[in-house]
Amino acid sequence: MKETSITRRRRHELIIGAALLLVLAVLPLPIRDVYTRNLIIITVLFAGLAQAWNILGGYCGQISLSHALYFGVGAYVSTLLLTRLAIPPTFGMFAGGALGGLMALLVGWPCFRLSGHYYAIATVVVGEIGYLLFLNWDWVGGATGINIPYVRSVGDSWLWLQFRIDKLPYHYAALAFASVAWLVAWLIEGSRWGFVWRAVKDDPVAARSLAVRIFPSKMAAAAISGALTGIGGAIYAQYVGYIDPDSVMYGQLSILIPLPAVLGGVGTLWGPLVGAAVLIPLSELTRSYLGGSGSGVDLMIYGGLIVVVALARPQGLASLIGVRVRAPAGAVDAAAA
């Protein structure tokens, strides 16, 4: 079969992805500064989380605002398995991912009967219910949260995903997570699912006339998106060593997870990465230089910059570096949501 533009583009994406992975693998090595290393880890983690959201929100076009719930469920499941049953987080994070995906299916079951803005609003409410349940659920620590113990008997360990002084391994954990999320998105783009989901986003009526089953398509996208987000939550929990509803399940997190994807370019492979690389450092810098005064100037400037980007580049920042942008209309809708 003759080579098409699609197969050529996909090969280039894989090469660029591998090169980027290599750069990110060595990036923190010369950096001794703990603050900067932390910034890089969080940026990489959010690149992965935004990519996970992008699978449902970008490719399938379902603007979910309940991803904090899947993130939190992943964090809680792996942490509870560790503290109650002494199961290593390396296994626990897959259980967290499974539960995150299951939760996304439970939310999707009723919410996908709604579409557009109504769907988005319903997910906000569901996310808030989840947050309140965990806040008042004593068995999972309630508002006090759970402290993740350092298991002394095993010491620093990849199996237990615990590293006392040197936080560099967490960078590789986050990088592995982001790479998997990227690879999943890449595989989806080239498969039946990717095409069908984008059709569902663009025009459900036309999609149905081409034998596309809408509801199962949305559910599949939600399950994958929720599962990846749950795994991200589990890794984050091990990294920070303490979780409570206000740190892993708060409503604003459901905005922070999609934000890099929305500003970088929804429904694109590179959008979430570019968005995270710009947004996360930006939010940290405004906070460290302007925050702390209690006046909220940092958040005003951060918010203002987001508005400027959304107005100037509705199709996403990734379009600046020549990434083909698929969804100009969708990007504007998503930015407005």
């Binding site: 197969t7 080239g190 039946r192 095409f195 663009d202 036309a206 081409l210 034998a211 596309v212 698929r326």
Partner: protein, 242 residues
């Protein structure tokens, strides 16, 4: 062998407005049937019933003897009914090739064969040169062609064309007619709704005329245009006698 499509006493109303009343006709394999009638005659409603968009209130629709009325659009598509839309519905964020691949995936689960079929369909419909263009930047005529290509990629037995030639320039309409002839030559049965009578009548084998939701007459194009009822429906009572 039963006819490919049997429309058997189909009625459908929307909130008290009768869109289709007791409509019956058959379509035979390899045939091209025209569905004509003034605005509001119920042509698109009937298309929606056949393609699964809506369920008839009464009556039955059968494809090759199998009941399809009441099935969902995605099931109708799998059984071999494909359609285009009166108001064009392209997947605007996707390229022309990607649009047609969505259709190809209806029967193919792997990407390589789906892409091969999509490319072959683009070749057939004369859109190959536009494969990498985003659908939303196509001309209206190309968008209609894209809808046909997308529908053909599902390998249908029956193709429903809803005003595919409306709003096109005479030259574009002529090449649209040629495309329809090519589709027929492939053994695909076609039902087309059209306002442009002078384009439609030489093309179709038979025409069904609808008026106010009812079948006015069914027959060869020449019979149909000389039917007094048809003239009355289109031109009014004064011309019927002439």
């Amino acid at each position: 062998m039963p006819p490919l499509l049997e429309v058997d006493r189909v009625s459908k109303s929307f909130g008290g407005v009768a869109a289709n009343v007791d409509i019956s006709f058959d379509v035979h394999e390899g045939e091209i049937l025209g569905l004509i009638g003034p605005n509001g005659a119920g042509k698109t409603s009937l298309f929606n019933s056949v393609s699964g968009e809506v369920t008839p209130d009464a009556g039955e629709i059968r494809l090759a003897g199998q009941r399809v009325s009441g099935l969902r659009p995605e099931q109708c598509s799998l059984l071999g009914i494909a359609r285009t839309f009166q108001v064009v519905r392209s997947f605007d964020s996707m390229t022309v090739l990607e649009n047609v691949m969505v259709g190809a995936y209806a029967r193919l689960s792997r990407t390589r064969p789906a892409m091969a079929r999509a490319l072959e369909t683009l070749e057939f419909t004369g859109l190959a040169a536009r494969a990498d263009t985003l659908a939303h930047s196509l001309t209206p005529a190309e968008k209609r062609r894209l809808e046909v290509a997308r529908a053909l990629a599902t390998k249908p037995r029956l193709l429903l064309l809803d005003e595919m030639l409306t709003g096109l320039t005479p030259v574009e309409a002529q090449s649209g007619v040629q495309l329809i002839r090519d589709v027929l030559a492939r053994g695909i049965t076609v039902i087309m709704v059209e306002h442009v009578m002078e384009v439609l009548l030489p093309l179709v084998h038979r025409a069904v005329v609808l008026d106010l939701g009812r079948v006015l007459t069914i027959g060869a194009p020449t019979e149909v245009v000389h039917n007094p009822d048809v003239i009355r429906a289109y031109l009014g009572d004064r011309y019927a006698a002439a």
